[in-house]
Every structure is written in structure tokens, then in C-alpha cells.
């Protein structure tokens, strides 16, 4: 059975009559030991999905559908049950390590908190386990005593503390929301490797949320691309990259500077070959209030046809577990 | 050509339209209740400038100590003066003293604070230490001491209260201005060639205006209390000019004979201070989310 199975997740806000749909029918699944990358730009709903899984949606937002963690529906579980699960069975790593850590509490105590809460350990036992967790993430207590405060650590080190906190009770599912966005690129690589090792070692499932296709390519087994609250393309990472089906995925990939061939300047000389322009997706992401009948990408899509504005595209299966939500796909996965 | 004052004020308060402001204003209970109380208080004071039901300087002994009646809505005092008229005139007194005292604090404190934030360095140190020095003195007691030494009277009490408004505004302005100075649009203004004075006026002050406005309402309330306190002690506004504090003092000996003489001025003080505090709270609620939303 899948560790996590999200079925038709919808998140709404506003008056029931004129509700804005922040998430519109999201379907995802994840097995133990698998890393699922959730990709998209701001406003696509990827962070909202993470919050929905954790039961941390802001007030005024309603979730519908099913989020099954080992068969248990998290949407209908009460707050008490969710508190018992958070930190114990499902843990989260956030983007900004400085705000995720309490600046006035030493790191040892912050890591030990979960242990005392969920496993009822004594202070001494919890401290020992915390020291072990911190050692596991590369902050061994001889160099990094438990009494250190967050501001005494660098950004990468703080993120390691956050990861240690997430791990202490041995969760089965880890949700990492842009865990490396605030970090330098060399530190980013280290943290991603660390998360990878840990997921491997503990046999956890990992949802890695990011806007960076490079990270998705390098660190995930399967991926889902989100746009305007919907999943528009999903499948094993290698498959999706080999055969990008949805126009948005293609647009996203083409817009990345590293993908393009780069500066036209030849070595040394003042050549005047015009620099290559990046392929852009025209327009910009529409407001959450704009959820049209048909495909949300229609106003920006170069391949849109008449029925795209009226008919909502459902996920169509292409080869090998790969699917895309577009009306104009040929069976081979090309856009007609 | 420097932009007009009007543009700066408009920018400070109305950068996202009247409709939005009205909506949040009507939604805030503190603002509404406080607003009503404050506006009533000010309206009464304004009205009293040109008219009171009965003259306040006329002593009509036969009518003394009358209770609530159709002729005298709140009764009369020990000299037969109409209480409503006395309260109205007292309101004028409170408002005038408060406006001038707070204005003094604002007019001197804000530029000092802005200067400290803009210049930094030793000037900042000196100004802030002077500020700390001023804060070390308990405001009301010091005001009492000043008026006792300089002689009682409305003018001296205004000065005494005003002096203690200066450090409050200086500190607030400096703290808030320092935050603004760190923002990137200040760097952009420097790149555009603007100097610190121009930047303080065009960029810093409009961005801290909401904080200042809220503080003004708080200081106003405190000034009214301070004035009442000084007048009660006989150090503030002198008779025959009516003041709420003086009325309270005179009512002391008559407490069991005519308690209304103490209750009504006391209630007037309490209501006006309450109204101003609520108004300030409400304003903060309205202005704060807008500040946060700008990011």
C-alpha cells in the first residue's frame, strides 16, 4: 500500500458561494523510500499541498478530498490526532531555517522537544537521542554543543538542525518545502545529499517541494508539476524529463538559463553575436480567483485550441506511469 | 521641484484608496466606539467656543446644588453654575492644553528623532542619552515641580506637559526611522542623488506616519490626564477658567452633599481618555495590516 495517497484534494477559501479554489483536484501518491518532487512557481499550490498534508492550513481555508497516510484519512482526523501524528509519523522541513527555529531556545532542547512530547522520554534520555540525531546530520556534539543557539550557526547548519528535529521520532513521511532555497549552492548540495541519505537509511517517503528543475532532476525519483492549483504533469523523473508533454513543463524548462546555450561571446574577442534570448512563457500566473472552466494555462499556452477554454483537461496516461493533463496530446506524448 | 506637502500626506495615509480604508475602519469596533467618543468630545469643545447653555462666569446663588432637571441637564454646582456649561468649557481647556502640549512634543521630538536616525554617529548618541535623561524623571511629578517653581497657570502647565512629550516622540521617531533607513528604496533615493534631509522628509516621515498618528492619540489622552491632575492640584489652569481637574478638587469637600459634582467631571475625564485610547487602538489595527500588506 502506498505510504501517502492524496485523492482529489481541493482547498478553498472565501465565502462558500464564491469560493476561490487554491487547490483543484490534486492526486498524488508516494511509497516508502520514494522521493517525489513537487515542482511549480509561486502561487501554484505546492506549499498549500504540504500544509494540507500536515493539517496546517490557515484559518478560513477548507480542505476536501482524501489524504491517506497509511490508510488513515488526515482530513477527517481531528486536531488531536493530527498533533499526535505531526513530528511522530509525518514531519516537515521549512524553507527558512532561521524562522523555523526558536531563537531563544538552545538547539539541543529544540531537537529533544519532539522526543519528550511524543515518546515521553525523560529529559536525559531525550538529550541523548537529540545528540545522536544531531550527530547524524553532521553536527556532532564535540564541535556543536547542545547549548548552542541558532544564531551561532550558519544557514546550512541551522537547516541541519531543522532536519534533525524532523527526524528524531523516526517519521515515515518527510515533507520538505524548499529546504535549500535560502542556502548557498554549495551548501544546498550538501543538504540535499544529507536528506537523500537519511531518506534512504530510514526508509522514509519524501516529498521535496521546489521551483528548481535542476534539483528535481538530481534528487527525485518521481515528480509532479503543478500550475494554478492542479497537477499538470507527473511521472517518474527520468520519463518526464525525457518526454516533456505538457506545454507548461516545456515552457518552464525552456525558460531556465542553464538549459540554453548561454552567452554568444566567443573566447576573448569582442564578438557581436547577439546573445540568445530565453524562451519565455508569455503573461503571468493568474490570481487565485481566476479559475476558468477549462484549462488554467489556456491564456499563456502556445498550443491552445478552441476546446481548451471550455473543457477541463484530466490527467491522461502516457507511457510508463507518466501522465499529463492536456487536451491536445497525441498518444506518443507530443502536443499536436 | 519638491513634491507638495499634500502629496506626502496623501501618500502617507491613502496609498490604497478610500474604499479599502472605509471598509477596515467600519469593521473595527475600537475605532468606531473610540471615534465616536473622541469626535463628540472635540465637537463639544468646539461648540463651547461659541456657545454654552448658560454663562460659566455667572454666579447665581439661589440656583445652587440643583439636581438633574429640564433646565439644567446635569444640575448646578455650589455657585449655581450650570454643570453642562462648565463641562463644555472644561473640554475646551483640556483640548487646547493637550493640542499645544502634544504639538510641542511632536514639533521638537520628531525632528530630533529623525535627525538622530539620519546622522547616526555621535549626534545619535548625544540625543539619545539626553532622551534617556529626560525619561529618568517621572513625568507627572516633574510637571508638578515645574509648575510649582515657575508658577501655576495654563501656559506653564502646557510647557511642563509638552516637555515630557518630546522624548516620547523623539525615541519613537528614531526607532521607526532607523528601520526605514535600512530599506532598499532609501538606497535608491541616495543613488538618485538625494541627501539625508530630503530623504527624511520625502521617504522616512510618510512611512512612519501611521506609527506617529497612533502615538499622538495616546499622548493626547495622557496630556488630558496630566492637565486634569495639575488643575486638581491647583497648578494648572487657574479659576475662573473652568477645568475638569479643578472641578474635581472643589467637589471633594462636597462629596456627600452633592456627589454629582465629582462624578460628572470624573466621568468626562474618563470618557475622553477612554475614547482616545480606543481610537488609537482602532487606528493601529487599521493601519497595521496595511503596513504588513505592502510587502
Amino acid at each position: 500500500m502506498a505510504l501517502l495517497s492524496i485523492e482529489n484534494l481541493c482547498v478553498e477559501t472565501g465565502d462558500p458561494e464564491a469560493a476561490y479554489r487554491l487547490l483543484d483536484g490534486v492526486n498524488l501518491s508516494l511509497s516508502r523510500g520514494e522521493c517525489l518532487g513537487l515542482v511549480g512557481e509561486s502561487g501554484c499550490g505546492k506549499s498549500m499541498t504540504a500544509l494540507a498534508i500536515m493539517g496546517l492550513l490557515p484559518r478560513g481555508m477548507r480542505a476536501r478530498g482524501r489524504i491517506l497516510l497509511d490508510g488513515e484519512d488526515l482530513i477527517t482526523a481531528g486536531e488531536e490526532r493530527l498533533c499526535a501524528l505531526r513530528g511522530r509519523k509525518v514531519a516537515m522541513v521549512f524553507q527558512e531555517p532561521m524562522t523555523a527555529l526558536n531563537p531563544v531556545v538552545p538547539i539541543g532542547r529544540q531537537v529533544a522537544e519532539g522526543l519528550r512530547l511524543h515518546l515521553g522520554l525523560t529529559r536525559h534520555e531525550a538529550e541523548q537521542r537529540a545528540a545522536h540525531s544531531l550527530g547524524r546530520v553532521g553536527l556532532s556534539t564535540d564541535r556543536f554543543p547542545l547549548s548552542l543557539f541558532p544564531h551561532q550557526l550558519s544557514g546550512g547548519q541551522r537547516q541541519r538542525v531543522v532536519i534533525a528535529m524532523a527526524l528524531t521520532c523516526g517519521p515515515e513521511l518527510l515533507v520538505a518545502d524548499e529546504p535549500t532555497t535560502a542556502l548557498d549552492v554549495t551548501v544546498q548540495a550538501q543538504i540535499l545529499d544529507l536528506i537523500d541519505e537519511i531518506v534512504e537509511e530510514y526508509g522514509m517517503g519524501l516529498i521535496l517541494i521546489t521551483h528548481d528543475l535542476g534539483i528535481v532532476a538530481q534528487s527525485t525519483d518521481s515528480m509532479a508539476v503543478m500550475y494554478a492549483g492542479r497537477v499538470v504533469e507527473e511521472g517518474p523523473t527520468a520519463e518526464v524529463f525525457a518526454q516533456m508533454a505538457h506545454p507548461y513543463t516545456r515552457g518552464l524548462f525552456a525558460a531556465m538559463p542553464s538549459h540554453a546555450t548561454g552567452s554568444g561571446a566567443a573566447t576573448g574577442s569582442r564578438t557581436e553575436t547577439p546573445r540568445q534570448r530565453l524562451v519565455t512563457i508569455p503573461g503571468r500566473v493568474a490570481d487565485a480567483s481566476f479559475r476558468p472552466e477549462g484549462c488554467p494555462f489556456v491564456s499563456r499556452c502556445g498550443f491552445a485550441t478552441d476546446h481548451c477554454s471550455s473543457e477541463k483537461p484530466l490527467m491522461r496516461a502516457l507511457a510508463q506511469g507518466h501522465g499529463a493533463a492536456c487536451l491536445n496530446l497525441s498518444p506518443e506524448g507530443d502536443v499536436r | 521641484m519638491p513634491p507638495s506637502i499634500r502629496a506626502c500626506v496623501m501618500a502617507a495615509v491613502m496609498s490604497d484608496g478610500l474604499a479599502e480604508l472605509r471598509r477596515s475602519a467600519l469593521g473595527s469596533r475600537s475605532f468606531m466606539i473610540g471615534g465616536v467618543l473622541t469626535l463628540s468630545f472635540i465637537a463639544i469643545a468646539l461648540a463651547a467656543l461659541i456657545w454654552t447653555p448658560y454663562p460659566v462666569d455667572e454666579i447665581v446663588v439661589p440656583r445652587r446644588f440643583q439636581g438633574i432637571s429640564a433646565a439644567h441637564w446635569l444640575g448646578t454646582d455650589q455657585f449655581g453654575r450650570d454643570l453642562v456649561s462648565l463641562l463644555m468649557a472644561g473640554a475646551v481647556n483640556s483640548v487646547v492644553v493637550a493640542i499645544v502640549a502634544v504639538g510641542l512634543g511632536l514639533g521638537i521630538g520628531v525632528p530630533l528623532g529623525a535627525l538622530a536616525a539620519a546622522r547616526q554617529g555621535w549626534l545619535d548618541e548625544v540625543l539619545m542619552r539626553a532622551n534617556d535623561f529626560a525619561f529618568a524623571f517621572p513625568a507627572l511629578l516633574s510637571a508638578v515641580m515645574i509648575t510649582a517653581l515657575a508658577g501655576p497657570g495654563a501656559v506653564n502647565s502646557i510647557i511642563a506637559i509638552g516637555i515630557f512629550n518630546i522624548p516620547v516622540f523623539a525615541r519613537l521617531t528614531r526607532g521607526a526611522a532607523l528601520v526605514i533607513w535600512k530599506r532598499e528604496f532609501i538606497l535608491a533615493a541616495r543613488v538618485a542623488g538625494k541627501g539625508p534631509l530630503r530623504i527624511s522628509i520625502e521617504h522616512v516621515l510618510p512611512n512612519i506616519a501611521s506609527l506617529l498618528i497612533v502615538q499622538i492619540t495616546i499622548q493626547f489622552a495622557l496630556a488630558i490626564l496630566a492637565e486634569a491632575g495639575l488643575s486638581y492640584l491647583g497648578l494648572g489652569t487657574q479659576p475662573p477658567q473652568p477645568s475638569w481637574g479643578k472641578m474635581l478638587n472643589e467637589a471633594q469637600t462636597l462629596m456627600f452633599l452633592a456627589p454629582q459634582l465629582a462624578i460628572f467631571p470624573g466621568a468626562a475625564i474618563a470618557l475622553s481618555v477612554l475614547g482616545l485610547n480606543l481610537f488609537g487602538d482602532g487606528l493601529r489595527d487599521i493601519l497595521d495590516p496595511r503596513l504588513r500588506r505592502e510587502r
Partner: protein
């Protein structure tokens, strides 16, 4: 565009900038932090020069010092041969017409209380005071159009615009005095990928159309690789490697440059870092 002289537009020589840190004790020397430690480079007219490095390497400090916003401990910044720190304040102010800046944070670099018109026209107030109100408005309108916005946007406020649009406003502000040099400090770092692409294209267009010279500072190697002619890699306040962009990226000499390039995640799953591919699972339910 003025006739190019043989001299580089911007020359930075042995620039050193220090910060004073909070004192340790009551007595003893105040500790200092050397943010920029003897940096030298030059930028030819019409070229795009990139400074790349991670956080804390001193690149933002360098940018602010080059713009004359902070005074260096030693070293010179020469704009067309003139040492900007040797000028009288009035002369420096006049020179600012020729070099402007674009900042990183689209949400912080525009005064939320200013209308778009005031924001974009701000440099004109001091640097081109001779213009009439009408002329100024015209210029603002033209510049807005040239960055892809509408002249009718002048009466609106920054919070009504998206991040990408705000950066365009910031670019318009930098362009309005028709400078020769634009220093861009992480101008696209806060933007989404697709918006970033639009703004980068805009920068490239403007550079070609107007012959602008760019000093482009970023931590994002892919962006720098795409948009610059020459690049300098900064680490701990010093330039560790410099050269034509293609060269430096294809054939990095310094170890730090190599580790930097190596760490960038490349969007090709075949180069995946995953230790062991997990069992085949379906994303489709």
C-alpha cells in the same frame, strides 16, 4: 551613445572595505570585518560583467561601494577615469546621472507610498532638474513603455504590481537618466523562473538597444553564465578567478570555482545524485 574612448568605462583598483564589529570588551581594539579585500577589475563600455559568489563573499558590499554609497578604506573606483571618491559632493551628484543601480528586492526597493510616476521620476528630480513637469511625465511614460509596462501605470502604487513588474519599474527608474553604466545587484534572484526569463530578456534587449554597460551581481551561476560577457568569481572578499564567461565556466581554474560549478544542480536526471533509484512507482494514481 558617446564615442568610445580607449579607456574602460569602470575601473576598480584594490578596493578595500571594512566594517566595524561590536566591541568585545570595554577596552581593546574594535574588531573589524574585511568585506572587500583588495578587489580589482575593469569593465569595458557596452559589455556585461558578472560578479558571482555565495552569501557573505562581499559582492553586495562591492556593488554598494562601486555605486559610491559606501566609502572604501582604500582603493579607487574610476568612472571614465574619474575617481568617484575624490570628487566634491556636488560633482559626484552630477556624475550619478551616468551610473545607476537596480536592487534585488522588488518589494523593498520601491517606496510603497510613492506612485509609479514618483518612483521612476525620482532620479530626475536631483540629477536633471531642468526638465519641466510635462517633459518629466513624458520621459517616465516612454521609459515605462520601453520596459514593457504601460504609460498609464504612472498613477498606480507598487503593491498593485507583481514581483516581475516591480523589477521592471526598478529598471525603468535606473534607465531614466540615460546612464552609461547600470549596476544590478541580484536583480532576478527573487523572481520565479518564467518571470526571471522575461526580465533577463529585457535586460539583454536594453543592453543591445542602448549600448548599456552592466555590472551584474548574482549568486546564480546559470543566470550569470547566460547573460554576461566576462565574469569574476568572489570568495571571502577577494576575486579568485576572472575571465570571459564561457572560458571560466567551461574551463575553471580555481578550486572554488570548480566546486561552485559542480554544486549547481543540472536539470538532467541522468546526472542524478540519487544513491539508488527507488523501485518503479506510479505517479498516476
Amino acid at each position: 551613445m558617446t564615442v568610445a574612448s580607449g579607456q574602460p568605462l569602470l575601473q576598480v583598483e584594490d578596493l578595500v572595505r571594512e566594517y566595524r564589529l561590536p566591541q568585545r570588551g570595554l577596552f581593546g581594539p574594535t574588531p573589524v570585518f574585511r568585506a572587500v579585500n583588495g578587489v580589482s577589475f575593469s569593465v569595458e563600455r557596452g559589455r556585461s560583467f558578472g560578479i558571482v559568489g555565495e552569501s557573505g563573499c562581499g559582492k553586495s558590499t562591492l556593488a554598494r561601494t562601486v555605486m559610491g554609497l559606501e566609502a572604501p578604506l582604500s582603493g579607487r573606483v574610476l568612472l571614465e577615469g574619474q575617481d568617484i571618491f575624490g570628487l566634491a559632493p556636488g560633482e559626484l551628484r552630477r556624475l550619478r546621472r551616468r551610473f545607476q543601480m537596480v536592487f534585488q528586492d522588488p518589494y523593498g526597493s520601491l517606496d510603497p507610498r510613492f506612485t509609479v510616476e514618483r518612483v521612476v521620476a525620482e532620479p530626475l528630480e536631483v540629477l536633471l532638474p531642468g526638465l519641466s513637469r510635462r517633459e518629466r511625465l513624458e520621459r517616465v511614460g516612454e521609459t515605462l513603455e520601453s520596459v514593457g509596462l504601460k504609460a498609464s501605470d504612472t498613477g498606480r502604487y507598487p503593491h498593485e504590481f507583481s514581483g516581475g513588474q516591480r523589477q521592471r519599474i526598478a529598471i525603468a527608474r535606473a534607465l531614466i537618466t540615460e546612464p552609461d553604466l547600470i549596476v544590478a545587484d541580484e536583480p532576478v534572484s527573487a523572481l520565479d523562473v518564467s518571470v526571471q526569463a522575461q526580465v533577463l530578456n529585457l535586460i539583454m534587449d536594453l543592453q543591445e538597444r542602448r549600448g548599456l554597460t552592466f555590472l551584474f551581481i548574482s549568486h546564480d551561476l546559470s543566470v550569470v553564465r547566460h547573460i554576461t560577457d566576462e565574469v569574476a568569481v568572489m570568495y571571502a572578499g577577494e576575486i579568485v578567478e576572472t575571465g570571459p564567461t564561457r572560458e571560466v565556466f567551461v574551463n575553471p581554474q580555481h578550486d572554488y570555482t570548480k566546486s561552485l560549478i559542480d554544486a549547481v544542480p543540472y536539470p538532467d536526471p541522468r546526472r542524478s545524485r540519487r544513491l539508488k533509484p527507488a523501485g518503479r512507482t506510479g505517479g498516476v494514481g
